[in-house]
C-alpha cells in the first residue's frame, strides 16, 4: 500500500541505528590503505622562501610527499573561477592553505612527518576583517546594486528615519562527519573517488583537472554524508583532489579525513557581514524607503561568495513590500579560508538587517513589532512586486499570520510578559514573531537542472539513480516515495543507488533546497518514459482479458496494472516487466528536468530569479538573566509552508533542525580570530553549537495545511533552508528582553549572535543610560 508511505522512516534509518551505515572512513575495502595528510600553512599571508622535505621523507612508513611540482594536471581547486591553487604556489594567502601532501602508512606517521618538514616564510601584511579590507580597498568584485522606486527622494521625505549598522557573525558548519575522501587508483591512471560531497560532478571535475585526466576517467561516488549544510558544496573538493593526487602518485588507495580541529581551522564558514542601513517610515510604521549596503567577508577566493551576496541582496526586504529601496552588495577579499555556502546562502545575512530595523521602528513608535511586520507584509493583489521585479505569487504570509497569532496566543502572552517583567528584577522575558519569505531556485539559472537513471530489473525490482546526494535531509526517502507513486509499486521493491557520476552525469550540487524539486522531477521524467514504452504491451495484455477497455485509462498502483474500468483483471507489475523483457522493450531510461522561466538581468537588477517562494513564521519567548547574559528559550511556535508535503515527518525534521541551527548562529556560535588570523574557536571545546539542553522547553511546529504548490513535484515545496531563518524569532526575543530593562524606552546595542557577552554589555549600557 502507498498510504502509509507518508511516514516511512528515513531510507537509511535502520542502518543508522545499527551502525551499519557506511561513511567514507568506514569503507573497509583496502588492506593496504594509505593515510593522506595535508601540511597546512600556519601563516595568513606569506611568501614561501624555501623548504626541505628530506628529513620528513626519511621517516619509516612515509610513502611519498608531494609539492606543487608533483601535480600532473592543473594546480586548481576551483572548477569555475580558477582562483584557488590546489597546493600553494610560492605564496600562502590564508592559514590552512595546503602546501604539501603526505602519504604514510597511518595517521601518526604522517603527523610525525609533517613535523619534520622545514619551511621558511617571509611574512606579508594580512587583511582579516571587512573593515581592514575596506581601508585597503581590497574588493573581491565590483559592488552590485538592485534598486526600485526612488529611495533617496523617499528617504528625504520620510516622516521618520533611522540609521544603523549591524554585524552578523560567521558560522562553522560542524557537520558531524569531517571532510573526507577515499581515492582508489585503477587501470590507465583512472581514479575512483568515494567522496563526502554535495557536488559529485564538481568533485569529479576537480579531480580530473588536478590529475590531468578527462572527466570520463574519474568516477565520483557519494553514498551519504554525515551532514553537509552547504559546507560540502564546494569545500569537499579539496580533500578529494588531495587524496587523488596521493593515490595517483603512490598507485595505492588513499584515505583522508580531516581531524575536527583541522576541519574547523581550514574550511570556510558562513560569511560574516557588516551592513549599514537607513530606513524611512511613517507614524503607522509603514516603511517608505530602505537603503542598505551589505558587506561580506569573502575570505581568500571567490568560492561561492558572489551568488551568496546575490541571495543576500534578493532577501534584503524579507517578507515586506518596500516601494522605494536600494540594496548594494560588496564582497571583500581577506586572508581567511574562503567563506562558503551555508544553509540560507546569504539569505539570513540579508534578512537579519531588515528584521532588526523593523524591530527598531516598533520601539521608536512604541508599538508591537509583530504589528509593524504585519502592516508591511507583501499583499496578495497589489504591493506584491519585489525590488528585483518578481511578482510574489501564492503569498501565504497573511494566512500564516492569522493562524500563528492565534495558535501562539501572541497578544495575550505579550501582556503576561509585561506583567512578568514588571515584577522580576533579574530575569526578563522577551517575545518576538518573525516571518520568512525565501526564494527557491539556484540564482545561477543554469544550475536548475537534474538528471536521473531508472533501472527496472527482470524480477520487477527497481533501482533509481539520480543526481542528488543524501546528507541526512531525507532526499533519497522522498525520491523513493516519488518513484513508488509514479511506478505504482511499493517502496520495498525500489532502492536508491549511491550518487555516482558514471550513472548520471553533469549534475548540479545538492543545494539551494532544490534536491527534491529537481531530482524528483527528473526521476518522474524517466519513469514516464518507461511507462510510455510499457503501455502498448499493457494495453494488449489487458485487452485480451477485457476487450472493452480504453488505452487511456490504465493505472499503475499497488504493484498492479489495471484499467480503471475493470480493476479485477489486474496484472502484477513484475509480470508486465518480465513480459516486456521477452518482447525486447527497454526497461531503463534516463530522465531530465530543467526549471523553466528563470532569469535575472544583473545589469538591470531585474528578473525572475526564483521558481516560487516558501513562507513561514515563528513566535519565540525567551528568558534572559540580566546579570549573566544567559538566555533560555521557553517556547517556540512555528507555522511553515512546505507545500503539499511529500513526507511530513521529514519536513518537520528539517524545520526543527534548521531552526536550531539558526538558533546556534543567533546565540552561542562565535568565531574569533587573533590578530595573526588564527581561529581561536577551532575546537568544539570553544565553539559551541546547540546541545540538547538548548531545545525550547515548549516547541510546537506545524506545516501549513492546504498549501499545494502548483510549481513543483507532487505540489511540494523545498524545505532545507527556509526554516533556518525562523531563528530570528529567538534573536529578537532576546533583544526584546534586554529592552525590558529600560521598560522598552531605549534601543539596545545589538548584533548577531546575541551571545551572553553581547547581551550583558548591551544591558550594562542600557542601565548606564537610564
Amino acid at each position: 500500500m502507498i498510504g502509509p508511505m507518508k511516514n516511512i522512516p528515513h531510507e537509511s534509518a535502520i542502518s543508522h541505528v545499527t551502525g551499519e551505515a557506511n561513511y567514507v572512513s568506514d569503507i573497509q575495502l583496502h588492506n593496504n590503505l594509505l593515510w593522506g595528510h595535508v601540511y597546512f600553512s600556519p601563516k595568513a599571508h606569506a611568501n614561501i622562501k624555501s623548504y626541505d622535505l628530506s628529513e620528513a621523507l626519511k621517516i619509516d612508513g612515509v610513502v611519498d610527499i608531494l609539492d606543487i611540482k608533483r601535480i600532473p594536471g592543473i594546480n586548481q581547486l576551483n572548477a569555475l573561477s580558477h582562483d584557488e591553487p590546489c597546493l600553494a604556489d610560492g605564496k600562502v594567502s590564508f592559514i590552512g592553505q595546503a602546501i604539501f601532501l603526505i602519504a604514510a602508512k597511518n595517521r601518526e606517521t604522517a603527523i610525525l612527518a609533517s613535523k619534520k618538514i622545514k619551511i621558511e616564510y617571509e611574512e606579508l601584511e594580512s587583511i582579516l576583517t571587512i573593515e581592514d579590507a575596506m581601508a585597503k580597498s581590497n574588493l573581491l568584485a565590483p559592488t552590485r546594486r538592485i534598486e526600485t522606486g526612488n529611495p533617496d527622494e523617499a528617504m528625504k521625505s520620510a516622516q521618520f528615519r533611522l540609521k544603523g549598522k549591524l554585524s552578523t557573525g560567521a558560522q562553522e558548519h560542524w557537520y558531524l562527519e569531517t571532510q573526507s575522501a577515499m581515492c582508489v587508483p585503477g587501470e590507465n591512471r583512472n581514479m575512483t573517488v568515494y567522496a563526502s560531497s554535495q557536488n559529485p560532478t564538481e568533485t569529479q571535475n576537480v579531480v580530473a583537472e588536478v590529475l590531468g585526466l578527462q572527466s570520463n576517467q574519474v568516477i565520483c561516488e557519494v553514498k551519504r554524508m554525515g551532514g553537509g549544510f552547504g559546507g560540502k558544496e564546494t569545500q569537499a573538493n579539496p580533500i578529494a583532489a588531495w587524496a587523488a593526487l596521493l593515490a595517483d602518485a603512490t598507485q595505492q588507495a588513499v584515505l583522508m579525513q580531516l581531524s575536527r580541529d583541522e576541519d574547523q581551522k581550514i574550511t570556510g564558514k558562513r560569511h560574516p557581514f557588516l551592513s549599514n542601513y537607513e530606513i524611512g517610515f511613517d507614524e503607522n510604521g509603514i516603511i517608505t524607503s530602505y537603503i542598505v549596503d551589505l558587506h561580506g567577508n569573502a575570505g581568500s577566493s571567490f568560492d561561492l561568495s558572489i551568488p551568496i551576496l546575490e541571495r543576500a541582496m534578493f532577501h534584503a526586504e524579507n517578507s515586506y513590500f518596500i516601494e522605494n529601496m536600494r540594496v548594494t552588495g560588496t564582497m571583500w577579499k581577506t586572508n581567511l579560508p574562503s567563506n562558503t555556502a551555508f544553509r540560507g546562502f546569504g539569505g539570513p545575512q540579508g534578512m537579519a538587517v531588515i528584521e532588526n530595523a523593523i524591530d527598531r521602528i516598533a520601539r521608536f513608535l512604541h508599538k508591537d513589532a509583530a504589528e509593524i511586520r504585519f502592516k508591511n507584509f507583501y499583499q496578495i493583489e497589489s504591493k506584491n512586486l519585489t525590488h528585483y521585479g518578481q511578482l510574489v505569487k501564492n503569498n501565504k504570509l497573511p494566512i500564516i499570520w492569522n493562524q500563528i497569532i492565534k495558535s501562539s496566543d501572541y497578544f495575550e502572552r505579550r501582556q503576561q510578559i509585561n506583567h512578568f517583567n514588571a515584577s522580576h528584577q533579574i530575569i526578563k522575558r522577551g517575545l518576538a514573531l518573525t516571518p520568512i519569505k525565501f526564494g527557491i531556485s539556484f540564482t545561477t539559472a543554469f544550475l536548475n537542472q537534474a538528471g536521473a537513471l531508472v533501472l527496472i530489473y527482470k524480477d520487477g525490482s527497481v533501482m533509481v539513480n539520480h543526481g542528488g546526494t543524501e546528507m541526512g535531509q531525507g532526499l533519497h526517502t522522498k525520491i523513493l516515495h516519488i518513484a513508488a507513486k509514479e511506478l505504482g509499486i511499493t517502496k520495498d521493491s525500489i532502492t536508491i543507488s549511491p550518487t555516482n557520476t558514471s550513472k548520471v552525469p553533469n549534475t548540479s550540487p545538492t543545494a539551494a533546497s532544490s534536491g527534491t524539486d529537481l531530482n524528483g522531477m527528473a526521476v518522474k521524467d524517466a519513469i514516464t518514459t518507461i511507462k510510455k514504452r510499457l503501455k502498448p504491451l499493457v494495453y494488449r495484455l489487458l485487452l485480451a482479458k477485457d476487450p472493452t477497455i480504453k488505452p487511456t485509462n490504465i493505472i499503475f498502483k499497488d504493484n498492479y496494472v489495471f484499467p480503471k474500468s475493470n480493476p479485477a483483471i489486474a496484472i502484477s507489475f513484475s509480470d508486465i516487466v518480465k513480459q516486456a523483457h521477452f518482447e525486447q522493450i527497454s526497461l531503463s531510461a534516463t530522465g531530465y528536468y530543467g526549471t523553466p522561466g528563470i532569469f535575472f538581468d544583473r545589469e538591470k537588477g531585474k528578473g525572475k530569479p526564483f521558481h516560487y517562494y516558501a513562507f513561514g513564521m515563528a513566535v519565540s519567548e525567551v528568558e534572559v538573566d540580566i546579570l549573566t547574559g544567559n538566555t533560555k528559550i521557553l517556547q517556540t511556535d512555528i507555522l511553515h509552508d512546505a507545500g503539499k508535503s511529500i513526507h511530513t515527518e521529514i519536513d518537520k525534521g528539517q524545520v526543527m533542525g534548521a531552526f536550531m541551527q539558526g538558533v546556534g548562529w543567533c546565540t552561542t556560535e562565535v568565531i574569533r580570530y587573533d590578530t595573526k588570523g588564527n581561529l581561536l574557536n577551532c575546537t568544539p571545546d570553544t565553539y559551541k553549537i546547540p546541545g540538547i539542553g538548548d531545545f525550547p522547553l515548549k516547541y510546537k511546529a506545524e506545516l501549513l495545511n492546504n498549501a499545494n504548490n502548483p510549481n513543483a513535484i507532487h505540489q511540494s515545496k523545498a524545505i532545507g533552508e527556509p526554516p533556518f531563518m525562523l531563528a530570528f524569532s529567538v534573536w529578537l526575543a532576546i533583544k526584546d528582553a534586554i529592552s525590558a530593562v529600560s521598560n522598552h524606552t531605549k534601543e539596545p546595542d545589538f548584533s548577531l549572535p546575541a551571545t551572553k557577552e553581547v547581551v550583558l554589555i548591551s544591558i550594562k549600557k542600557l542601565k548606564e543610560s537610564l
Binding site: 541505528v17 545499527t18 575536527r260 547574559g629 525534521g653 546547540p690 540538547i692 539542553g693
Partner: protein, 489 residues
C-alpha cells in the same frame, strides 16, 4: 593469562590484547581500537576530545553487589587497558541478528519510529547514550533524558525528535538480551578480574601499569617517578589525540577500588580521589545542594562517568569546576607515598597555574570535606557559553555567615576563570567583613573586583564580560541570601 595482556568482553566473547603481538601502544584509545578491527566502524569519531559523543559506547562492570552496571562513556577518551575486566558494548551489539533478519533493540526501534536520525553520523552515539540510560535502573524523566544526552551533539535534527525517541524508549523498560546474558557475562568478568596482581604492559616505546591497590600504585610511583598518573584519562587522552603528546610511562589507577568510596563520618566526609564526578555530583546534591548548579553542569554524563574528583583537583586548572566549591567547603587533600601521608588544605595544595603540592612519589588518595556549617549561606553558579558540556567562562562558589545583627562575620568568594588559578576575591571579602550585608555594601565591594582580578580575553570570552559578570555574580549571591533561595538561573 600472561602478563603483557589485558582482557575484556566484546561481542559476548573474551577478547585478549597481547602487547607482545600487536603493533599499537597500550595508550591506544578504545575508539581507535574499535575502528581498527572488522565490523566495528559504527562507533564514530566526531571530535576526539569528548565534546560530541559520536564515539559513545557502554561499559558494563561488576559492582559491589555483584550486579552489572552499565555506563555510557566517550571511547575517544579511554585508554584500552582501562577496560580490562569490563564488557565493552558497541552499537553493533544492540540489535539481535540472524543472517536474514534484524531485530532492533527498543532503543533503536524508537529512534527509527520518531524519525530521530537524519545524517546518521551521531546516531550510534545517541543510541548508546539512550541505551546507557535504559540500563541504568533509573526511571527516566525529561531531566534525566536531557542529562543523559547532553554529551551528544547532533547538527541535523535540532534534538526534539531525539527527546521523543528517548521518551518513547523509556515508557516501558523491559528486560532485553543483555539481561538474558547477564549471568554469563558476570561470570566471565569475575574470572577475568580474579587476579589481584597489577598488570604491567610493555610495548617498545611505552610502559603502562594498571595497579589494583594503593600499595601497588605507590610501588610503581617509587620505581617510575616520571610516569604520568591517569584515572579517567579525560585530559591526557585529549592531549594525545590532539597534539600527539605521547606518554612513555603511564600508571592507570582506574582499577584501584580503595580510592573510589565515599565514607560518612560524624564530622566530615572522606571521598576517594578516584570517586567519579557522577558519584560526586550525586553526593553534592544530597549534602551540599547549593553547589549543584556547578556539578549538574559538569561536562557530560559520559565524561562524569570516568573523570574523577582527584583528576579535577590535580589538574589545577583555573577553570576546574570543582575547585571553587571545595575551597568554600574548606576541603583537605590527603596524599600518600610509600613512606608517609600528608593532609593539605586545598587552597595550599594548588600552588599555581596547573601546579600542585604533590611529590613524584605521592598519590592523592582522598578528599576530606567537613560537614555543612548550617549557619552559613552557600551560593554557586557556573557561567558558560552553552549550558551543558561547556567549560566555565567564569564561575563562583561562595559562602557567607551573617551575625544576628546582619553583619558579615565570614565570607568566601571563590572565582574560577578570572585568574591563572581558581582564586578568592580577597579584597572584596575583606571589605565586606564586619559590614552590614546590604545592596549598597555589595555594590561598593563590586568596585573592588577590578583590583582582585585582571582576567584575560580569550576564545571563550572577553575581559570586559568577565569583570562585569564577576561583579554581577556577587549581586546574585546577595539576592540569593535575600531570597534564601538559590535559584541559579
Amino acid at each position: 593469562m600472561n602478563t603483557n595482556c589485558i582482557q575484556f568482553i566484546l561481542d559476548n566473547e573474551a577478547y585478549t590484547i597481547d602487547w607482545s603481538k600487536v603493533d599499537f601502544p597500550p595508550s591506544t584509545t578504545v575508539l581507535q581500537f574499535l575502528r581498527s578491527i572488522p565490523k566495528h566502524t559504527g562507533t564514530k569519531e566526531g571530535c576526539a576530545e569528548g565534546d560530541c559523543g559520536a564515539c559513545t559506547v557502554v561499559l558494563a562492570e561488576v559492582n559491589q553487589n555483584n550486579k552489572l552496571t552499565y555506563k555510557a562513556i566517550d571511547s575517544c577518551l579511554l585508554f584500552l587497558p582501562s577496560i580490562h575486566g569490563k564488557q565493552l558494548i558497541t552499537i553493533e551489539n544492540l540489535a539481535t541478528k540472524t543472517p536474514t533478519s534484524t531485530s532492533l533493540h527498543p532503543v533503536q526501534q524508537a529512534i527509527v519510529e520518531t524519525h530521530a536520525s537524519q545524517c546518521g553520523y551521531c546516531t550510534p552515539g545517541i543510541a548508546m547514550s539512550v541505551f546507557g540510560m535504559y540500563k541504568s535502573g533509573k526511571t527516566p524523566d525529561k531531566n534525566l533524558i536531557i542529562d543523559a544526552l547532553a554529551g551528544n551533539l547532533c547538527r541535523c535534527t535540532g534534538y526534539g525528535s531525539i527527546i521523543d525517541a528517548a521518551e518513547l524508549t523509556c515508557k516501558s523498560i523491559k528486560p532485553d538480551h543483555f539481561t538474558q546474558n547477564e549471568s554469563m557475562i558476570r561470570e566471565k568478568l569475575i574470572e577475568i578480574n580474579r587476579s589481584g596482581d597489577a598488570i604491567e604492559l610493555s610495548f617498545h616505546n611505552q610502559l603502562y601499569f594498571l595497579p589494583k591497590t594503593i600499595k601497588q600504585t605507590l610501588e610503581f610511583k617509587e620505581k617510575y617517578p616520571q610516569a604520568v598518573l591517569v584515572n579517567g584519562s579525560t585530559d591526557i587522552a585529549v592531549r594525545q589525540n590532539k597534539t600527539s603528546e605521547f606518554q612513555p610511562q603511564i600508571i592507570d589507577i582506574s582499577a584501584v577500588k580503595e580510592i573510589k568510596q565515599i565514607i560518612t563520618n560524624d564530622n566530615d566526609f572522606q571521598i576517594g580521589a578516584g570517586c567519579n564526578i557522577e558519584n560526586f555530583k550525586i553526593f553534592i546534591h544530597e549534602n551540599f545542594h547549593e553547589f549543584s548548579p556547578i556539578t549538574d553542569h559538569f561536562a557530560s554524563l559520559q565524561i562524569r562517568n570516568i573523570a574523577t574528583l582527584g583528576g579535577n583537583i590535580c589538574n589545577a586548572s583555573p577553570i576546574g569546576d570543582l575547585i571553587p566549591l571545595l575551597i568554600v567547603l574548606k576541603a583537605q587533600v590527603k596524599t600518600a607515598s610509600s613512606v608517609n601521608t600528608r593532609i593539605i588544605n586545598i587552597e595550599n595544595f594548588i600552588t599555581g597555574y596547573r601546579s600542585i603540592d604533590l611529590h613524584n612519589n605521592e598519590l592523592v588518595t582522598e578528599i576530606i570535606i567537613p560537614k555543612k556549617d548550617n549557619d552559613s549561606h552557600y551560593y554557586s553558579e557556573k557561567v558558560s557559553t552553552r549550558r551543558d558540556l561547556d567549560i566555565s567562562t567564569l564561575s563562583i562558589a561562595a559562602s557567607i555567615k551573617l551575625s544576628s545583627a546582619g553583619n558579615v562575620e565570614d565570607i568566601m568568594l571563590v572565582y574560577g576563570g578570572l585568574a591563572s588559578t581558581v582564586k578568592r576575591a580577597k579584597l572584596c571579602e575583606d571589605f565586606l567583613k564586619g559590614k552590614r550585608f546590604t545592596l549598597e555594601m555589595i555594590s561598593e565591594a563590586i568596585q573592588l573586583i577590578n583590583n582582585d582580578f585582571t582576567p584575560i580575553s580569550d576564545a571563550r570570552s572577553t575581559t570586559e564580560y568577565r569583570i562585569e559578570a564577576a561583579g554581577n555574580l556577587m549581586l546574585k549571591l546577595f539576592y540569593s541570601v535575600q531570597l534564601n533561595n538559590n535559584n541559579g538561573f
